[in-house]
């Protein structure tokens, strides 16, 4: 079953074409990584999938309704005046969910991302990694069917990125939403995705894709296997091809 699909979409901005023609079909429960050079239109593709923007040409189809799609941005994008709990509860609040129920579900979402005990903290009191986890909890609080992660690790250090990558895979295993995530990091893409789609430089088209072997979530030591190295090489080769195109 297809959760969301972009069919021959093109997006033109006033300063010129930004994306496409580009296509992507996302099966339910699938994790797809979008990799490509800066300015190739990855974030534009994400906004199309989220329904935050309409394509200039082409079609977007989505099965999840409102509240079943969640986005995590590059920065944590938290409201500084709200506690971690109130930030995580925001999507429920906007949907009119009763206050005490929203708080309870927000606390549960924070616990899922490993932030039990930090419910009353404000974003300014959290580290970058913890703030990103609050952002993730806010995305998960509605139990989305489609989760869009737009370079969620960009601002984090290597150790924190790896820990968060494993945690996201573990969380995915619980409810199996379809995930699309954008990254610049080839190893991260191969590690987290069941399929890596490589885009050309802007306006982005598909250069090719690599189906990643191996079960999700990853077994420990997956990064050191021969198969992992080979697939990282395959994606890198496609990226080089996309830069030249």
């Amino acid at each position: 079953m297809t959760t969301a699909a972009l069919t021959d979409v093109e997006v033109d901005y006033p300063r010129g074409p930004a994306l496409g023609p580009f296509g992507l079909a996302l099966a339910a429960g699938e994790i797809v990584a979008l990799v490509g050079p800066s300015g190739c239109g990855k974030s534009t593709a994400m906004r199309l999938l989220a329904g935050l923007e309409a394509p200039t040409r082409g079609e977007v189809s989505r099965t999840p309704g409102r509240g079943e799609t969640a986005v995590v941005f590059q920065a944590p994008t938290l409201a500084p005046w709200r506690t971690a709990r109130a930030n995580a509860a925001l999507p429920l609040e906007l949907a009119g969910v009763d206050g005490s129920e929203a708080r309870a579900r927000a606390d549960a979402a924070l616990a899922r991302v490993g932030l039990k005990g930090a419910e009353a903290a404000r974003p300014a009191q959290l580290s970058g990694g913890m703030a990103m986890r609050v952002s993730l909890a806010r995305a998960l609080v509605t139990n989305p069917k489609l989760l869009l992660l737009d370079e969620p690790f960009a601002a984090l250090d290597e150790i924190t990125r790896r820990a968060l990558a494993d945690d996201i895979l573990a969380l995915w295993a619980e409810t199996r939403p379809a995930i699309v995530f954008v990254t610049h990091n080839v190893e991260e893409a191969v590690y987290m995705a069941s399929r890596v789609v490589v885009m050309s430089k802007g306006p982005g088209r598909t250069v090719g894709e690599v189906a990643v072997e191996g079960a999700l979530p990853r077994a420990p030591g997956f990064r050191t296997t021969q198969a992992f190295r080979a697939q990282v090489e395959a994606v890198s080769a496609l990226l080089v091809k996309g830069m030249a195109a």
Binding site: R47, A50, G51, L52, R66, G67, T69, A70, V71, F73, A75, T77, A79, P80, W81, T83, L90, P91, E93, L94, A95, A121, R122, P123, A124, Q125
Partner: protein
């Protein structure tokens, strides 16, 4: 040690300047009406402290009421402006004209409109006009200052315009509102004093009126006394609003 030195340095400088002033006045036998020595100013302050305090309160209360009025009017207007670009384009030039026109220039008009017997009303209105702009521009900018990704999140979850205003744009505007009020408070005080000068004595007995009265009688030490009180009051108001802003930001940010 260095910290203590740094804190003391301005005090020492002021003491030195005052001492030099006192010595120069005595040594050169400067006439009292021309430039009284600091000691004479202190004597004048001690002699008139009741009237000075009363006048200070009169000016300060005018400024504070004006600040309150300006706060209410400018925020209500900023809210209306934030609802539509057309309203913003309509109102903005007028607000700018109001801001760039010197308050002294419109003061005589306002005095006439308020009625010559109601100088206090004229003073309040003029101080309000002066305090209006910093809050208004802060509020207009603040209401637009929400994180664009948070705005997208509100789109994603289908927030209503009211939810967006109450849960995103108003709270996002808080830092700029605090800043606007801080600036406006200082301007309200200046506006009140300027307005007192223009309005004259008609019932109002603020510090500017004390200065004018003493000037007409060539009581220079008394003039200085009122100026010193005015300066201290301004510094006090500024300190209080800085502290308020800091506390407000700490509350907003949680640290």
């Amino acid at each position: 040690m260095t910290r203590l030195l740094r804190a003391l340095a301005p005090v020492v400088l002021i003491a030195l300047l005052l001492a030099a002033w006192e010595i120069a006045c005595r040594a050169l036998q400067v006439p009292l009406f021309f430039l009284p020595p600091p000691s004479a100013i202190v004597v004048a302050m001690a002699a008139d402290w009741r009237e000075l305090l009363q006048s200070a309160w009169s000016t300060l209360s005018m400024a504070l009421i004006a600040l309150l009025l300006a706060s209410l009017i400018s925020q209500a207007l900023a809210l209306a402006v934030s609802l539509s670009v057309t309203i913003e384009r309509t109102v903005w030039p007028l607000a700018v004209v109001l801001q760039v026109t010197p308050v002294v220039a419109i003061a005589p008009l306002v005095v006439i409109w308020a009625g010559l017997d109601h100088a206090d009303r004229a003073i309040m209105a003029l101080a309000t006009i002066v305090a209006f702009f910093p809050i208004f521009s802060g509020a207009v900018a603040g209401l637009k200052a929400a994180d664009p990704d948070l705005e997208r999140l509100f789109d994603l979850y289908g927030a209503s315009p009211l939810q967006r205003l109450v849960k995103l744009r108003l709270p996002s505007a808080v830092p700029q509102l605090l800043e606007g009020h801080k600036v406006a408070a200082g301007l309200a005080l200046i506006g009140a004093v300027v307005a007192e000068f223009v309005a004259g004595s008609g019932g109002a007995q603020g510090l500017a009126w004390r200065i004018l009265e003493a000037s007409h009688r060539m009581q220079t030490a008394k003039m200085f006394a009122a100026v010193v009180v005015l300066g201290l009051m301004g510094a006090g108001l500024n300190t209080a609003l800085r502290a308020l802003e800091k506390a407000g930001l700490r509350w907003w940010r949680g640290r």
